[in-house]
Chain length 222, copies 4
DNA sequence: GATGAATGAGTATTCATTCAT
DNA sequence: GATGAATGAATACTCATTCAT
């Protein structure tokens, strides 16, 4: 979506180095998206038209490359959140935001592998929270302000709901790529407090700090 | 959960062989559950206290071992479904069934990997469907008969909902192993038609045949 | 060809043990003949309808089993040689003997593997020489006595010629199983001294002792 | 025989890479020649003084390594055939060509294994035929033109005769590496038509197409 | 004696990572 | 800086042989 997926490290790279960096990220994004994270870095390098050595010059190891892509996805999602915040109808905004999220995630095998199975030690996770959490909170708050969305919904619930829906989405992707709409509707119906009676949500939501910890400390990829 | 995970099809094995078989299955279950399906069979063998050769004597290849565990899980889940059908309150039964399902699935990294990323050509998929689908249908139908569960819910929706919830469950397992209860409540609220107005579910549910196709034809494990 | 392939070891075995021994030999003969010596002993045992353990009770190791089969083949060939010696026309006898030899060998992948690539340490080789060499010598001598076969042909040349022809035979077996007849004719024409002038055969033939040494000391199978 | 076994198709390798490539080919040639094709690539790598990974970097798999060696042998033999065609006496050329062939083949366990037991689906077989067949045909035709070599000999007979003789040669290699000269003489005597009467060769020779099919479609190596 | 269970070294192959050119 | 060559540990699977039942 963006030309430059991320801003890169501290001092700016030489022009050609930066171009290679972008090429690598683009190639990795493509290949991990389609075939998952098990694709070898040799493959990524070939796709990018550079040597593996170059990949390692730009990224300490495979994990760092993946983490960098992750930042890119966070940015993309943040941009989507920002657009949602500009929508006049907060309820529609929430719905639309979920749709965007799911379509992005469902198509991305590597990202889902990452979210569901990967370890996260990188400091980049903080970035995700800092960048993303306030926007999501705002989306929720705005929707709740209409009085039609249950009050006990919390910002950190949103990534979970997105993850859940995208699980369903990917699961049936080949045969019925739209099936997740059923479950989004179900959830939305559960989220709306306009219904006659709503079961109070049990257990407290994850605090932002807990959310970050969760993202950091997954079971090891290997 | 059970002492013997499966009885095996042909003539009974020698006592010691059966013991080793169970040891292997137990070791594999443990290790795949905790660390996913990428654990090597050497590791499984070590964990089981046998040589690799012994593993291969009992299971043609890694897939067969995994399949056998899968059958075991299906049987366990089917037993749970049967118990749900014996519960007096159909609504509570549905809720309880989801709870059991999620707790089983959330803790099992390998099983979730299998469901979400593995290829399935084996005839065992048919087994899963044959064994499982009628029970699930019955659970749904019973709940709908109370008039309190929306009529447009369909049997094949259940595995999706289970999968979705277990995604959330696993994701936060370390920090907040109970967080999924929030989302189960949300979904249940969406499922109950006792609310004042319900959004009709968009797109038709997967037919049983589609469901089987989905289970069979996932992207390849490798 | 024979019911009992070999006479077996010293003291006679119990009836059932002997039956198993024969079954194993028959199974091994079939399977090695068709698919070569790389077939596993498990396979042989299955084919024979016994356990592997039984194979190892009767034969010290795979080599001994193979050696025993080899003895069987030697006996078969010796029988053929004897029949050749009973034929009225010594020249025809020589030709016929070659034909029999080649047809037996060409069809037997395992035996050819053995002759061409195997190690031979077993004492059984002596047996081959003792049993076989005098017959072959006699066939040659008789043919030479007609005056039509070159005098510088020697008994030990015969196994070589057989081996050579069977190489050609097996090589084209799928497409043209009879092609060896061309080369047999060529050799026979070379063998006949009735031609106007014959090139004296260079280098002396292998002495019987040398022949035995050759058979013993091949490069290792593995 | 040559320093560089083959030049490789694409752009030239880096100096060090090319050196390793040659080392690997040399090691493989040595080890396959002496101990046959069952030697592991680990062994080849050790012999070459490189890691296995390096072998796999240069050759997609074991087959490709073997094929490359095979091409080298074909080229060597073709060069020999070309030299034979430059010899003034066509009869002597034929004889010399056989000598060279046999000495090359007899010493090479792996090559003979390949010829006699391996499958060949690769396009390299075509190469062998294209490169080799015209030369051999010419050698035969030239010899027949002298009137002293039988007219019913055909180009495709030559590889068979070579194979046959090398079988004998290898068989006795340890004890009497020259014994094949006896059988070459025998065959040459059979080949010369200057003898008073010659038995017409039975069954037609393999056509070039049949020959290629034979080379392609051997029983599988495994 | 017979069985087949158990063993583990051995095989081809892959891939993250390092390093010489 | 860039390249791609080199490395070797790791993985799934096989099979000759030994040994408990």
């Amino acid at each position: 979506m963006d030309t430059k997926i991320d801003a890169g490290p501290e001092r700016p790279l030489r022009r050609d180095a930066e171009r290679n960096r972008q090429r690598i990220l683009a190639a990795a994004a493509e290949v991990f998206t389609e075939r998952g994270l098990d694709v070898s870095l040799d493959e990524v390098a070939r796709q990018a038209g550079v040597g593996v050595g170059t990949v390692y010059r730009r990224f300490a190891d495979k994990d760092e490359l993946i983490d960098t892509l992750f930042i890119g996805y966070v940015n993309n999602m943040a941009a989507i959140a920002e657009r949602a915040l500009e929508m006049p109808d907060p309820e529609e905004a929430l719905y639309w935001f979920f749709e965007q999220w799911i379509e992005a995630l469902a198509a991305n095998r590597g990202l889902r592998q990452l979210l569901m199975f990967a370890t996260y030690a990188g400091d980049r996770v903080s970035y995700a929270r800092t960048r993303f959490a306030p926007l999501v909170n705002e989306i929720v708050t705005r929707a709740q302000a209409t009085g039609r969305v249950r009050q006990d919904l919390y910002g950190t619930d949103i990534p979970f709901i997105g993850l859940m829906l995208s699980s369903a989405a990917e699961y049936a992707q080949q045969m019925r790529p739209d099936i997740w709409r059923r479950y989004l509707t179900l959830l939305i119906d559960g989220i709306y407090s306009s219904r006659s009676k709503t079961t109070p949500l049990p257990v407290s939501p994850l605090s932002p700090l807990e959310m970050e910890t969760v993202m950091r400390g997954r079971a090891p990829r290997r």
